[in-house]
């Protein structure tokens, strides 16, 4: 949403510039202008005003966040002075060292932050991929057949509020390994939003489109590929966006419990090493990666939103 307003605002102003310049380029005033010497300054001043107006939204968009971050860092620095938490400068120095060599590897328990982030992302991708593979078709079936919906929705309602971490022991027991167990929790937490949003999307396919399908007497395959799938896609992408958000939340906690290589484990490991500045860096890294994932999916979703036809 923020990105949309950011993009929309600067677009509005050039038309104002164009309006000013077309007024001065109007043939009639120009004929008059030829005899009066004092007219030329006007068009010079007009773009100046326009430039100021064009910068205004930009400053409006940039200045408040800068204040926000300044406040955050200020509070952080004050808290750091009183207590044992490392301050912004100390953390910055640690970050410079850390990011100068993000991909070193001294055995499984001591790897660069790059490796840790990547292995967390890999777990999320695999768990999330399986969830999509199962959840999207399941959502289609549940949305399409009322019987399946009434059959499955009580189960979903029961299981959805359960923290995915509660499933971790089951994963450990079944897979006998930490790594697939972490992936398993990601699978569990990603699958619900995917099933529910896909099913809702299928149920909300406009009746008109289904009537078109009925009049044309399309095959079930054509109905799925030409009508259901494109119509459900925006809902599906919302489901995907929600699940990737939760998946990224859950992976940190899951890795703290399972160990291995990963950003969550790394946070725990640095806690054991009492390198608190690394924990703060990790918080920023987790936030930035989560934000990037979310923005990426918003961009994809915008590509597939059809104009109001």
């Amino acid at each position: 949403m923020n990105a949309a307003t950011l993009a929309a605002k600067p677009l509005g102003t050039p038309s104002l510039v164009r309006m000013v310049s077309t007024v001065s380029a109007d043939p009639q005033p120009q004929a008059v202008a030829a005899t009066i010497e004092e007219v030329p300054p006007k068009p010079v001043r007009a773009p100046g005003v326009a430039l100021g107006k064009r910068l205004l939204p930009l400053t409006k968009a940039i200045v408040p966040p800068i204040f926000g971050f300044a406040l955050l860092i200020g509070v952080w620095a004050m808290v750091a002075m009183k207590g044992s938490i490392p301050g912004p400068l100390q953390t910055w120095d640690a970050a410079v060292v850390l990011f100068s060599d993000p991909f070193y590897s001294n055995g499984p328990n001591d790897q660069g932050i790059g490796w840790n982030v990547l292995s967390s992302l890999k777990r999320v991708a695999v768990g999330f991929g399986f969830a999509a593979l199962v959840g999207i078709p399941a959502g289609f079936i549940i949305g399409r057949f009322a019987f399946m919906n009434s059959m499955v929705s009580p189960i979903i309602s029961l299981l959805r509020p359960v923290s995915p971490l509660a499933w971790l022991p089951i994963g450990l027991m079944v897979f006998k390994q930490a790594d697939p167990a972490a992936t398993w929790t990601i699978f569990i937490c990603s699958i619900w939003p995917m099933i529910i949003n896909t099913a809702v999307g299928v149920q909300r396919v406009p009746r008109d489109y289904m009537n078109v399908a009925r009049v044309l007497d399309l095959s079930e395959w054509k109905i799925v590929t030409r009508i259901l799938f494109p119509s459900v896609l925006p809902y599906m992408l919302t489901g995907i966006r929600l699940s990737i958000g939760t998946a990224w939340l859950v992976i940190v906690a899951a890795e703290m419990l399972t160990g291995g290589v990963g950003i969550g484990f790394w946070v725990w490991d640095e806690w054991n090493n009492l390198k608190v500045e690394h924990i703060i860096i990790a918080i920023f890294v987790i936030g930035i990666v989560g934000l990037a994932l979310e923005q990426m999916l918003i961009l994809i979703a915008r590509r597939f939103s059809y104009g109001n036809a």
Binding site: N211, V215, D217, R226
Partner: protein
């Protein structure tokens, strides 16, 4: 007289509601001949769209029988093409692809891709939309969307074309130009058409017969007016035509004297 294309025999339609059964239509008997243009007119809520949906097969009657070309109507099918009021183009397909989807369904078994593409282009050319065929529905105006909807229906070469207030959502000028265009297309193709409308001028201008429906609930056919005007018809010539004015008056009389709706 040409062969009967659609026969509606003693059809009634009731819907189940919380307050019990709601009778929408009763005792409908109607025969539509091949090549005939019939409009259904009446106040809103008189069940004219319900009757159209019954012929389309989108809903099935509670009682009675509907036949199309001698066979019972048991569901929707491409031989009874529908032009929906709100065009119902698929927004993720271009105009061309929207029409092609229908063409492919009807002729895909017998004909190759090049032939299907020619059919699609011809249909769009028929309604003068060939210039914008690769645009998406949200990129064109309401009138243009409705043209594409009509092209999609005609491209299927249906036995009968069903139109549910096809121009209801358009402004008066656009509506007039689309009516003229529809008249041309109907003449070129000799199509059998059933159209729902609430526009008196549209009904007289386009129809061979006008079916006037009484007010609901339990609506039925009140009167049938045979429009005695020669084809091709031209809007301007008809404006002062005595017969046109008479027909128009007869419709208005039916709608606003005999079936006056109590003030809501």
């Amino acid at each position: 007289m040409a062969l009967p294309m659609v026969k509606v025999e003693n059809v009634g339609m009731s819907f189940d509601t919380k307050q019990g059964a709601f009778v929408a239509l009763r005792d409908i008997d109607l025969t539509i001949s091949q090549g005939e243009v019939v409009t259904l007119i009446g106040h809103s809520g008189c069940g004219k769209s319900t009757l159209l949906n019954l012929i389309a097969g989108l809903t099935l009657p509670s009682s009675g029988l509907l036949l199309c070309d001698g066979r019972e109507i048991a569901g929707p099918g491409p031989e009874r093409a529908v032009v929906f009021q709100n065009h119902s183009l698929l927004p993720w397909l271009t105009c061309f692809e929207n029409v092609y989807l229908a063409v492919e369904r009807v002729f895909g078994q017998k004909e190759g891709k090049p032939k299907l593409k020619v059919r699609t282009r011809d249909a769009l050319a028929l309604v003068h939309m060939d210039h914008a065929m690769h645009k998406y529905p949200h990129e064109i105006s309401g009138g243009m969307k409705q043209r594409v909807g009509i092209a999609r229906a005609f491209a299927m070469e249906p036995k009968i074309l069903l139109m549910d207030e096809p121009f209801g959502a358009l402004d008066a000028l656009t509506r007039a130009s689309l009516q003229d265009e529809l008249m041309n297309v109907m003449e070129e193709t000799g199509a059998t058409v059933v159209m729902v409308t609430h526009d008196v001028d549209e009904a007289v201008l386009l129809s061979d017969r006008i079916v006037m429906m009484t007010n609901g609930p339990a609506a039925t056919i009140g009167e049938i007016l045979k429009v005695d005007l020669p084809w091709p018809r031209r809007r301007l010539d008809l404006a002062h035509d005595a017969k046109f004015v008479d027909h128009r008056a007869a419709l208005l009389e039916f709608l606003y004297q005999k079936q006056l709706r109590k003030a809501a």
